[in-house]
Amino acid sequence: MADDPRDDTAAGFTCPIPIATYPHVLLAHGGGGTLMHQLIERMFLPAFGGAGLTRQHDGALVEIGPGRLAFTTDSYVVRPLFFPGGDIGTLAVNGTVNDLAMCGARPLYLSVGFILEEGLPMDALWRVVQSIQRAAAEAGVAVVTGDTKVVDRGKGDGVFVNTAGVGVVPPDRVVAPDRVRVGDALVLSGDIGRHGMAIMAAREGLAFESAIESDCAPLALPVQALFDAGVEVHCLRDLTRGGLASALVEIAEASGLHVRIDERAIPVREDVRAACELLGFDPLYVANEGRFVAFVAARDRDRAVAALAAHPMCAGAAAIGEVTSGRPRLVTMRSPIGATRIVDMLSGEQLPRIC
């Protein structure tokens, strides 16, 4: 950042919209007039000013190489907007980048749509915009188009963000649930449950001995590392809401096969386990934003673990189970004492228990 010539104007640490004049977002900032143009020109364009982003056209025109286009969208609503380890901006970039990576795609371009609540501190918007800029740079994607709307005070929750993303899948690469085969090994990219418990702690004001930070991170590079290591990857799934359990249930159902995991092999950090115990949560169902599970050919299991573990964000990668034909469409787990149970999807969010 230090040698970026834009530092003192837009991409630096002070908000480019004159705070003295507009300390808060007004309805007019989404009204199509001068205030909206000021927001776009002073804040969004300099921050995102990538290859395709231009105010002179109704859409972005971008180059993509050979291969198939991967296309995804996601909307982000999170309270609080800022939490240990990330904020709504990093989530909005990484969530969409990761969905593309799970298709086996190299993520290339994003759109960013803001729905802002009237009265949002301009400085908070600026922090979110900066986070988006940093996360996009880290993930190697460009923000090429966007939109801003402002809703009446009380009709939003500060900021809602929608991102859509496109990426390219190399012509010979097929990654999908129906590629999962009997015998495949399951490789988990690291410890689970950090994002959900970080949000929980921040939202409820629960103070644990150490602050749990979200695992929010872009996964395209670790995924690429699997392919670079020559691992035969059959299916990838990022673990978001619903956690590891829900992701595996989805894949067992989609592939029609039996997914079998071993609870003792699943890494969960000590502080996350303790927080889960306290609230009566099962880490298997807690949200993540920087974790995925790979279904790989059995012979490539150890190579996949090693390729992932070489990335700092996936240092805890582990083989956690395998695919069998035993119980079609089910996930079962071997418990620490050696018994077997079903792993199911929950009907809703986990709710803290009474005692």
Partner: protein, 370 residues
């Protein structure tokens, strides 16, 4: 995790399972009282390690499950009022009332909040003096001291916009109700460790003597439960009926005396309805007259509201150990965690929900444990 991992150790579990098999000469039916134990048994598969003749039936110790329908309806009625901020532990929000639950009250504009302690609800009342803050005081003896503390502090500090909707139940009367039923099949109890951390276990000694039934105060981890089962079966095999303490790392015979004093200061023993079971005399706690101002039923005029329990659900028989979830024709069909017909399907500690989540395989004869 420190203090937990050693109680989830496969080697220790296997050792207790072997020791248990060695001393077991005939079939025994034991009841674990607490829903937390039921959850652990089914989640970790503790019952898979038991010898063929030893059966665990699941007791009434899930506070969510035994809270009667009429109290859920009262909660819904109070929470729907515009002036009320209704605070509850999380797992009460999904319990079905007659036609809806507290989550749907929230969805239609009610101010319904999840809290982790009644003292958080009291703090909300202090922070928002213009709101009526009501806490849903549900639970066994375990949660009673904190609820008593909230009321006591509210009285001391003159917080007039705070009240509690009380649904406190007590373990010993429920055990006696089960034992004195002509259809009882329970031969030994694993008593609820957390309840005994507060109450101690002196009050179980007359029950063990009167009904000739061994009672073992037991913890919540798989190895705790196996050890509790072992101690209980050993008593049965030796013809003893005593109170023993497996959970000695947390429970003393006299319990937590200051906590008991606080409970007695604020609450008195009253008759209570149990969902699926009916009224059991002297089986619950209600606020003493001195603290009646903090009784939400009185404050909001819902005290006389009554509700009949629906008849399809067999949760009453399940809570008394007479039936298992799979004996119910609605289990997994009309009744699922998404559409619970009764409370044992709602809470993760309810026997039906635990079976549904972890055990749908069992009907399938091809089940292998591998």
């Amino acid at each position: 995790m420190k203090f937990i991992d050693e109680y989830r150790d496969a080697g220790a579990a296997a050792r207790y399972a072997r020791a248990l098999a060695k001393i077991t000469t005939r079939p025994w039916t034991l009841m674990e009282v607490c829903g937390g134990q039921t959850h652990a048994i089914v989640k970790f598969g503790v019952d898979e390690l038991l010898p063929a003749g030893v059966t665990l039936v699941h007791g009434p110790g899930c506070p969510v499950c035994v809270t009667p329908l009429e109290l859920i309806e009262k909660a819904i009625e109070i929470a729907s009022r515009p002036e009320v901020t209704f605070c509850s532990f999380g797992d009460m929000l999904r319990v079905p009332g007659r036609s809806r639950d507290l989550l749907s009250v929230k969805a239609t504009g009610g101010d319904v909040r999840i809290v982790y302690s009644p003292l958080d609800a009291l703090a909300t009342a202090v922070a928002q003096p213009s709101r009526e803050v009501v806490f849903f005081a549900v639970g066994f003896e375990t949660t009673a001291p904190a609820n008593a503390m909230a009321v006591f502090q509210a009285a001391q500090c003159g917080v007039r916009n705070f009240s509690i909707l009380v649904s406190h139940v007590l373990v010993p009367p429920a055990m006696e109700a089960i034992l004195s039923s002509p259809t009882n099949r329970v031969q030994g109890f694993l008593a609820a460790g957390h309840v005994c951390t507060v109450m101690g276990f002196e009050e179980y000694e007359p029950i063990a003597r009167r009904y000739r039934v061994p009672i073992v105060v037991t913890g919540f981890e798989p190895v705790d439960i196996l050890q509790g089962v072992y101690m209980c079966v050993r008593q049965l095999e030796e013809g003893r009926a005593e109170v023993e303490n497996q959970y000695a790392r947390a429970v003393r015979r006299e319990g937590n005396v200051p906590a008991q004093d606080l409970i007695r200061r604020v609450f008195q023993v009253v008759p209570r309805k149990w969902r699926g079971v009916g009224e059991i005399p002297q089986s619950g706690l209600g606020l003493r007259d001195e603290f009646a101002d903090f009784d939400a039923e009185r404050r909001f005029g819902v005290a006389h509201h009554t509700e009949e329990e629906p008849t399809v659900c067999i949760s009453g028989s399940i809570l008394r150990g007479l039936k298992k979830p799979r004996d119910c024709s609605a289990f997994g069909r009309e009744c699922t965690p998404e559409h619970p017909l009764g409370a044992t399907m709602v809470s993760s500690e309810g026997a039906c929900a635990a079976y549904y989540r972890y055990r749908r395989l069992e009907a399938d004869a091809a089940e292998t444990h591998g």
